[in-house]
């Protein structure tokens, strides 16, 4: 029993110190929540009817958009049906809302002209000059002043013999493969027609046509200039596009599939009642008509060209369209996803947005830490005064719990992306009290026995057994509470519940493996044995001449 005690004492201390060492070595650090480091958080909720699978899809799409603007460590999580987007370090609330809140529309735009991809500093759609307040909602936007002039309207007839600029990525840093030119073909059974070379570019009217159109000016009824980007955000192609001929709603589904030759293609189904509309565009493009001189139809999502397949047949069956190109499996699946859910599959409404500046976050963190330290100091003083040596055991036990808790928080923050919010900090501050409570329960039990005339030595084992059973009951009740809070609530409540629950669990562990053996060792040590006052113990009633009707075993 005593050997066990010492072993568990040593092992838990080693564990705590090892945990701290590992945390330092692995450079794990708690991930600070937005309220502590500044940033924007948005809680989006679906409205109207939606499919169960719509939420994960929406999260995926939002993640792509957020990655597009290069936020460090964005957090996009699901809580029930709500989607919580946290963008640390972004101070501009409007930009964040624009980014995640809109249900972007998938649009089919005929390609008017191929342009060389931008070689100048890449300017992504949706990015605005920093520091310029922008409260414009895109939908209230006036069409921009660069209305196409009459030249543009019909000026796409090409002088014969003009050749298109060769289409290739000219990124100086990477040699991107030239973008594949996917083709839109009729169902298997018909030979796909030969890929026609892209039509020569139309003379452009001005430099603004060569520039990427900003997201605010991405008007479905106007020609625009948009780019196609690879996964790293490098522009691989740029297109001058005509007004949108159709939106994603004409599609009923899209799936990646593998053809006989081991090539990945994307099969597309158009809604039966809309196939006629689609065929109007397809016919136009197939014939290289004035509104679709390149015979390519671009699929545009969120102001980016996802793909621009050539149209290889004058008309299609609703369920017999496939987009083929030099796709890898991943590319085909991504394209199918975009086609299926290009518009967010569900309309999302921002229920709650919060933006916190970095300085306010820092203040909150400082206050939390300070409050915690003061609270800890007060509890330490109280315990030491009241329980003397045992109070010291309590505080050491708290230190062990704290080391383990810190290890866990840092690990959760570094590897699980679990942020520590102010609510979490509060939970931790509160847990100081919880951790000390179990010590109090034990010591009071002990004092009761000692007051009844037992020696500390004789009392300690029995006291711990009965005190521990109380502690387990009370802690389990707390754990049930924390668990329910964690499962059934949203937002800050969860963080709070998690840390409180962790602290409670650690309290159980350190009570059993640290407090008990250490108290035992102290009580049984020869030097301290006959000095109950050191332990804050009462003088036994027998000594005070009080009646006692019990022969306490010595």
């Amino acid at each position: 029993m005593r050997r066990n005690g010492l072993a568990s004492l040593v092992s838990i201390v080693v564990l705590a110190i090892g945990g701290l060492g590992w945390t330092l070595a692995a450079e794990n650090e708690p991930l600070l929540g937005l309220d502590l480091q500044g940033g924007v958080s948005v809680v989006l909720e679906p409205t109207g009817e939606f499919d169960e699978s719509a939420i994960p899809q929406a999260i995926e799409i939002i993640r792509q958009r957020v990655d597009g603007i290069g936020v460090a460590e964005p957090e996009i999580t699901r809580q029930d049906d709500a989607i919580v987007v946290q963008l640390p370090g972004i101070a501009d609330r409007d930009q964040a809302l624009e980014l995640v809140g809109q249900t972007a529309e998938l649009r089919f735009r005929p390609v008017l002209q191929l342009l060389p991809p931008g070689l100048e500093g890449l300017e992504l759609p949706g990015e605005e000059p920093a520091g310029e307040p922008d409260a414009d909602e895109p939908d209230t936007d006036e069409p921009d002043a660069d209305e196409p002039d009459a030249d543009d309207e019909q000026g796409f007839g090409l002088a014969p013999g003009e050749l298109a600029a060769p289409l290739q990525a000219e990124d100086p840093t990477e040699s991107d493969p030239a973008p594949d030119e996917p083709t839109l073909t009729p169902p298997a059974g018909q030979d796909p027609a030969e890929l026609t070379p892209p039509a020569p570019p139309a003379p452009t009217t001005g430099v603004e046509d060569l520039e990427l159109t900003s997201s605010d000016d991405d008007d479905p009824d106007q020609p625009v200039t948009l780019g196609e980007f690879d996964d790293d955000g490098n522009e691989v192609a740029r297109y001058r596009l005509g007004p949108a001929a159709a939106t994603g709603e004409i599609l009923s589904s899209a799936n990646a599939r593998i053809e006989q030759l081991g090539q990945w293609t994307v099969g597309v189904q158009i809604r039966g009642d809309r196939i006629a509309d689609f065929n109007v565009i397809a016919g136009e493009c197939f014939n290289g008509g004035p509104s679709c001189p390149t015979r390519q139809l671009a699929i545009v999502l969120d102001g980016r060209v996802v793909s621009a397949p050539s149209i290889n047949a004058p008309s299609f069956d609703a369920d017999g369209i496939s987009i083929s190109g030099d796709f890898s499996e991943g590319e085909a699946k991504d394209l199918a996803l975009v086609l299926r859910y290009g518009s967010l599959p569900v309309e999302l409404v921002a229920q709650q947005t919060q933006s916190v500046s970095a300085s306010i976050g820092q203040d909150a963190l400082d206050a939390g830490v300070l409050a915690g330290l003061i609270g800890l100091a007060l509890v330490t003083v109280y315990m030491l005064v009241y329980y003397r040596l045992l109070g010291m055991v309590a505080m050491l036990s708290l230190a062990v719990s704290a080391a383990l808790l810190w290890t866990m928080i840092a690990w959760l923050g570094s590897s699980q992306g679990l942020a520590l919010t102010l609510a979490g900090v509060t939970g931790i501050i509160l847990s100081i009290g919880v951790a000390v409570d179990s010590n109090v329960v034990f010591y009071e039990h002990l004092k009761e026995e000692v007051a009844g005339g037992r020696s500390l030595r004789a009392a300690i084992d029995g006291s711990f057994a009965s005190a521990f059973s109380t502690i387990v009951k009370a802690d389990v009740a707390s754990l049930i509470g924390a668990g329910i809070l964690y499962w059934l609530t949203v937002g800050p409540v969860r963080g709070f519940a998690l840390f409180l629950g962790l602290a409670t669990l650690l309290d159980l562990i350190s009570s059993y493996f640290f407090m008990r053996p250490l108290a035992l060792i102290l009580v049984k040590s020869k030097r301290l044995q006959n000095r109950p006052r050191l332990f804050g113990m009462p003088t036994p009633k027998v000594d005070r001449g009080l009646a006692i009707d019990e022969g306490a075993p010595a």
Binding site: D35, A423, G491, I548
Partner: protein, 357 residues
């Protein structure tokens, strides 16, 4: 001998059943106050529950009047403008369109002499709060069911009833406190209230566990009725309750102090109010609500009724008083009679089986 040293050396012999009657009156008054304030004044709900927009910026040199002057032309003349936690200027507007949001932000930033991004903005849709509340309610119900089951299994169902009654009592009074003082109810408040439940239970379970242990000792259980047994148990664990409450309360008080006086960390303050009140009430209710309810329920058991009559008969024989046929448990003990067994005596603990070291 001072009260404290009496407590510390287990000489306390507090007649809890008599205090319970006072406690019942106190609780009733508090509950009525809470109910009255809730109906009369209602709760001061923050924007998280009402919907709307709140701006917050550190504006040490501005005043509320300045802010109102700046905001009136922007159509926010009747917005709620206040300083929270020192020099944090907080402006709250009703839910409406977001059109003027940016202008307000810029105006406030100018007023405070800060950058536009230093203004913390939070916008909440009108249905968000309902959702938080709905989730909290659901959590509450599941919590009640599970905790009741747990206590019923580990202790007994009557104790589960007592414990939950105490929890409900605590929650009502804390909410009432918010209504009386018109403190703003935020999600932090909801968290705090849910936490209080856990605390309240912790205390209550410590008392019940002791009572259960005492009830299992024939030496005690045969000598006194359940009410006195509870009173004895309370006396035995009183110091425990006081100390656990103090150690829990110290960090909360520190939060309250730091949050309100030093750094203007408003969220901390919001948490701390509810927690401080809740902890106090939780400690109180485990003694004055949970315990008497269980005692009252237990006294209704036929076994207890018999015991009671036997004890009455015994004491009547000793004192030569006529025996009342049956004494209803809710009837007070005749004044002046001490509890049958004082907390001063520690009964022998039953010999444990197994090795003795």
């Amino acid at each position: 001998m001072s009260v404290r040293s009496k407590l510390a050396s287990f000489d306390n012999d507090i007649d809890f059943p008599r205090l319970w009657r006072i406690g019942a009156v106190v609780s009733l008054v508090l509950l009525l106050l809470s109910g009255g304030a809730l109906v009369g004044r209602g709760l001061n709900l923050g924007i998280d529950f009402e919907g709307g927009t709140a701006w917050e910026v550190q504006a040490p040199d501005a005043s509320v009047a300045d802010a109102r002057e700046v905001l009136t032309p922007l159509g926010l003349g009747n917005a709620k403008i206040q300083f929270v936690g020192g020099d944090n200027l907080r402006v709250q507007a009703e839910p409406g369109d977001d059109a003027g949001l940016a202008e307000v932000t810029v105006a406030l930033a100018e007023l405070a002499g800060a950058d536009r991004t230093d203004v913390a903005i939070s916008t909440v849709g009108p249905t968000w709060g309902d959702e938080i509340l709905e989730k909290a309610q659901r959590a509450l119900i599941v919590f009640f069911v599970l905790i009741a089951a747990y206590i019923a299994v580990r202790l007994e169902w009557k104790m589960a009833v007592g414990a939950l009654a105490a929890v409900v009592h605590d929650i009502l009074i804390v909410i009432g406190f918010y209504a009386v003082f018109q403190l703003e109810v935020t999600p932090a408040t909801v968290i705090a209230i849910l936490t209080i439940m856990g605390y309240s239970l912790y205390d209550t379970i410590v008392v019940f566990d002791k009572a259960q242990a005492n009830a299992e000792r024939p030496a005690l259980a045969q000598k006194m009725n359940y009410t006195d047994l509870m009173s004895l148990s309370l006396n035995q664990v009183l110091m425990r309750s006081i100390n656990t409450s103090i150690t829990s309360l110290l960090p909360v008080l520190s939060m309250l102090f730091v949050g309100s006086f030093l750094l203007g960390a408003v969220t901390l303050q919001e948490f701390a109010y509810a927690l401080a009140v809740g902890l106090g009430i939780g400690a109180y209710s485990s003694i004055f609500v949970a315990t008497p309810i269980v005692a009252w329920l237990k006294e209704r058991e036929p076994q207890q009724q018999n015991l009671r009559q036997r004890l009455e008969a015994q004491s009547a024989r000793r004192t030569g008083q006529p025996v009342a046929a049956t004494v209803s448990p809710s009837e007070p003990r005749p004044a002046g009679t001490a509890p049958l067994l004082s907390g001063r005596v520690i009964p022998p603990r039953p010999r444990k089986k197994g090795k003795r070291r």
